[in-house]
């Protein structure tokens, strides 16, 4: 089975905070990492490969620096790495991104595509379904377990708001994963050695025969008109003093409110 895993390099939003004085993003400590959901997607791909054989291709769309997450993917078990990179891709929204990725995935070839449910920078969760739509293949989002692999179909569990659905998806197909699907492995020593040497295939807009009108900002139906910091304003009362006094006052507040 040839499995393509889409991975994205994102700024690590976990510890980012607003600067309380300027109310802007404090950049300190913002590192680039592999999108955490994509680590789970990669792990599931490697597990499937270990079970039924095949190859895992890690594919990323991004600037040349995104090669780092592809090397990380190889260190964690991917066999090949493909970087889809072109200045013309900058500013792509999920529509243009889905278009670009679909061209690239088609070029690479696949039986199965696995994506993280969403990326932690945009949090849209739209690229997985969009990519499947562009590839004209069936898809399932928010998969929490792969319960069976049977020739040319997969048995999947999809996390829903009120429980989960048990589904059967024919291949070729695509699914996106939630975190609970697995516990990603850490890179292995041999994997790291391989990652250091591996040649990353780079595809430009021309290499994937993309229509320039569909790429980047120009090809994006949505456009950002304003960016601002969220404001949370409240009148604040600090409850001070010794613990006992604090507790008394807090209980009084609770009894009033609840």
């Amino acid at each position: 089975m040839k499995i393509v895993v889409c991975v994205k390099q994102v700024p690590d939003a976990k510890d980012v905070r607003l600067d309380p004085k300027t109310n802007t993003l404090a950049r300190e400590g913002v590192e680039s990492i592999m999108n955490p959901y994509d680590r789970h997607a990669l792990e599931e791909a490697v597990r499937l490969k270990e079970k039924v054989g095949g190859t895992v291709v890690a594919l990323s769309m991004g600037p040349p620096q995104a090669g780092e997450v592809l090397r990380e993917a190889v260190a964690c078990g991917a066999d090949e790495a493909v970087l889809v990179s072109d200045r013309a891709f900058a500013g792509a929204d999920t529509w243009a991104t889905s278009y670009t990725l679909a061209r690239a995935v088609r070029k690479v070839g696949f039986d199965l595509v696995i994506c993280g449910k969403q990326a932690i920078d945009g949090d849209t969760a739209q690229v997985g379904p969009g990519l499947a739509c562009r590839l004209d293949i069936p898809y399932v989002t928010c998969v929490r377990a792969v319960t069976g692999v049977d020739g040319d179909k997969l048995e999947l569990q999809r996390l829903m708001d009120d429980g989960y659905d048990e589904l059967e998806m024919p291949l070729p197909g695509l699914f996106t994963v939630v975190r609970e699907i697995n516990e990603p492995r850490v890179p292995s020593l041999k994997g790291k050695m391989r990652a250091r040497k591996i040649e990353i295939t780079t595809l430009s807009g021309g290499d994937i025969d993309a229509d320039p009108a569909c790429l980047g900002l120009a090809g994006s139906p949505t456009q950002v008109v304003k960016v601002f910091s969220p404001q949370f304003n409240r009148d604040k009362t600090m409850i001070c003093g010794e613990v006992e006094a604090q507790v008394e006052e807090l209980v009084a507040v609770l009894e009033k409110l609840v």
């Binding site: 492995r185 850490v186 890179p187 292995s188 020593l189 041999k190 994997g191 790291k192 050695m193 250091r196």
Partner: protein
Amino acid sequence: MSCVDYFLSEEQQMIVDVARQITDEKIIPQRAELDESETFPTEILNDIAQADLFGLYIPEEYGGFGGGSFDMVLALEQFARGCVGIATTFAASALGAYPIIISGSDEIKQKYIPDIAAGRKWAAFALTEANAGSDASGIQTTAVLDDGDEWVLNGTKQWITNGGEAQIYTIIAITDRKKGPRGASMFVVEDGDPGFSYGKKEKKLGIRASATRELVFQDCRIPKNRMLGRQGTGFFTVMRTLDLSRPGIASLGVGLGQAALDEAVVHAKHRVQFGKPVISFQAVQHILADMAIQVEASRAMVYATARYIDSGARNISKESSMCKVMATDMAMKVAVDAVQVLGGHGYMREYPVEKMMRDAKILQIYEGTNQIQRNVIGQALNKEYSRN
């Protein structure tokens, strides 16, 4: 957080990175639970195997990475930063494998080492007995050749790390009591061999995630070819094994010391007393400074010793003993200081330094107490200076 740049090679840096990621993502989140419930860390060992680190010190021809003492020190330091119990479990498998690598025939190496390198099987090393701890000459376990094709083992080994969990055991037994130190030989015993069973599981002060158990041999019969090296070379193999493993134990001290220092500094920055973070008080700063000095001095010594061993040096007993004493005495002191800096918090099981203090103590005891190490150093000095 930062330490001296020891000019690691790219490969060495990779080892540190892989071990660090396992420590941060797998060990640290689970250590308190495993310690509290005294649970053997099977899943984490599988993670370590997945990352190829069980093969770190094993020659490439047997499926390993072909690394040396220094590579092992780098990995163990990271694991110990997370949990000395888990690091001990990992180190004990190496300790069990070293005798095979040092003295085993190619045939016996091919049989056992690839599985150990892949982390499919774990090893354990069995020397200690009720009457033979620091004084290894008190060994009572015997091995007798029966009908010329099977060894029959009788006796009990005590406090064996990975006992009951490992599949491969290297044990020392007396094959000819008349020959004294030259009358002991090493054997490989497998889990499931007839006449081989496990005694009670020990309850310990620290390193509770590791398993410590008795091994019982009652007419345990093993094939003749399970002997490692020639008959009578058992003590040689043991000494050589311990020379190689001691820097590893020393690095456990460095890792634990670093973790204790990290916890103490972070706490001192956050804990406010008299309106200020306690780190702003000199009394606290001086404790932290002394901790930092000792951790770094020990690390430098352990790294230097491991590199010296890897250079092919032959007489390494004194040096490897010196770094073991230095780094493990340091770990005990720094752990105690960390508890002091955290004060009441430090004494509570909610905070990790309490466990570090309990774990540190074993480092001064196992693989040769620090008193025995000083004997080794003292005797070596006596010998060196009598030559002139």
